[in-house]
Point group: C2
Chain length 315, copies 2
């Protein structure tokens, strides 16, 4: 307890990790310093992203991946991202259940995060939490997120390997595939593959992949059929992930660099806005500009230029 | 042609409108001035947002809404937003078909927009395009978007009324509802309501709504059953939209103000980053920071602070 938080996180102390994550979630002013202290000790964990439409059995699949990693003697950190909604809570509940399940296992740390309204904020927070788990010595960090929206895409981009989970029989699988997740999938998991329509789903994914020509040494996302509930196909999935990890070794660094760049841009912009609103603008100044826009007295671009000028003026 | 573009847009000239939209899509430097010139002439159009999972029949529903508005003597502008994907093009195709269908009708303008990688950029562009259509004298502007991700939510927030379209039989409807679209729905449309499971879907939406307590004068999203393909339920939907418009009159202005505020923040941040990268930073300076982050030499927060300092330093 006398040790500073960062040092305690580095020892893997779960309470310290939990507290660090809370600081990040609350955008606490100490969070930046914490990440700064932990950052040199990160980059070792392998981050697995798992996404897909609701009801695809992602949670069960993640449980299997946890068991697989534990069986291999690896420690695991899990970040379950819930979409913002006063109507949800299901995922959080599932998360509690899962935490109980692994409560006795010090090698597994599970944390759920609720999305913020703030655009981009969630992706930033998620990657910071991944850094904390990485620094805490977790060998594998699994990020589980629902849906295939821009926000989920941003989150999954923070992973080293992205698993897109689909399930037969839900009418819009193929549509969902078309709706922008082909790009982010390193591996397709057709879960509940014992269901009718599994082969149809596989071939529809195949036909989508066929629309894209892959270079000789370019990774073509394989399709793995699983029944997570009874573990069917999990060894195969584990091997595919290992294969990707080996293949991606070179590409891996590029991906992390690209990730770092978009993260840096987002961070600078966020810092700038915070400074503008908290240190530059007078109380209600932003609101008055908004009011003038609402009444069509001034257009947003002119207002933006004026605010930018205020932020950059001397003194 | 001698008239400046803004003036020609104000006359409703479709070629001018198309050109204005292209300027916005390309983030052309003239776009800001254009919006500035058009802005005082905006705020008259009623913006209808239509979203929901792929395959919910949104395009057909939008076609019916177009017909309904035209029958009432109103002019219509449609913005069809496609998710980014080398694999898509379906929506663009559908859009072409629709354009042909209304090609002979000068009262209808249809334009599809592809999403950008740039987070938040699409919502900004969409609302600018809505302003152009508004300034061009369209009485109704319909924004159609696929999916229920953060990006779609941001886009739909730019609408005056949001229709969330769901369809029976796709297993994850209820899940999709839970996945964060309850908040943005002003009206639920259960399309393809002649399908089996329509009533089950309605009651599952009802039970979700029941989790939230609505104030006496608070709008409780109604559920309208439609079969867009044959027009069933469209008159009822039209009445519900009118009812919302009447009810929302007061709330309406608050919504536009809130929209204006988030838009202004996003715009200022975007302008700042553009200035930083194009006027402040030397060639490759950002890249070198990214490199140092990738090698764990510096953490993102420290780098962000350094870049912010560079942007704010004098001269």
């Amino acid at each position: 307890m006398t040790l500073p938080l960062a040092a305690r996180v580095l020892t893997g102390d779960p309470r310290a990790v939990a507290r660090a994550i809370t600081l990040i979630e609350n955008e606490d002013t100490d969070a930046a310093a914490l990440i700064g202290a932990l950052f040199p000790h990160t980059g070792r964990a392998y981050v697995i992203g798992v996404t897909g439409p609701p009801g695809a059995g992602k949670s069960t699949l993640v449980d299997r991946l946890i068991e697989q990693a534990r069986a291999a003697g690896q420690t695991v950190g899990v970040i379950a991202v819930d979409p913002t909604s006063p109507f949800t809570g299901g995922a959080v509940l599932g998360d509690r259940v899962r935490m109980q399940q692994h409560a006795t296992d010090a090698g597994v740390f599970v944390r759920s995060m609720a999305t913020r309204g703030h655009l981009g904020g969630l992706a930033r927070a998620t990657s910071d939490v991944a850094l904390v788990l990485d620094a805490a010595g977790k060998d594998v960090v699994i990020i589980e997120t629902v849906g295939v929206g821009q926000d989920e895409v941003e989150i999954i981009r923070t992973a080293d390997v992205s698993l897109v989970t689909l399930v037969p029989g839900t009418g819009d699988d193929v549509q969902a595939i078309k709706a922008g997740i082909m790009e982010i999938a390193d591996v397709f998991v057709v879960n509940k593959a014992d269901r009718e329509g599994a082969d149809r789903l596989v071939s529809s994914i195949e036909s989508n992949l066929a629309l894209h020509t892959y270079g000789a040494d370019e990774w073509r996302p394989p399709i793995v059929k699983t029944v997570a509930i009874d573990g069917t196909g999990l060894p195969a999935l584990g091997q595919v992930i290992e294969r990707f990890r080996a293949h991606g070794a070179a590409r891996h660094f590029d991906r992390r660099r690209a990730r770092g760049e978009s993260r840096l841009r987002e961070l600078v912009a966020h810092r700038f806005m915070t400074r503008l609103e908290q240190q530059v603008l007078a109380e209600g100044e932003l609101a008055s500009w908004v009011e003038r826009i609402a009444t069509r007295e001034v257009d947003p671009y002119t207002a933006a230029e004026a605010l930018l000028a205020r932020a950059l003026e001397r003194r």
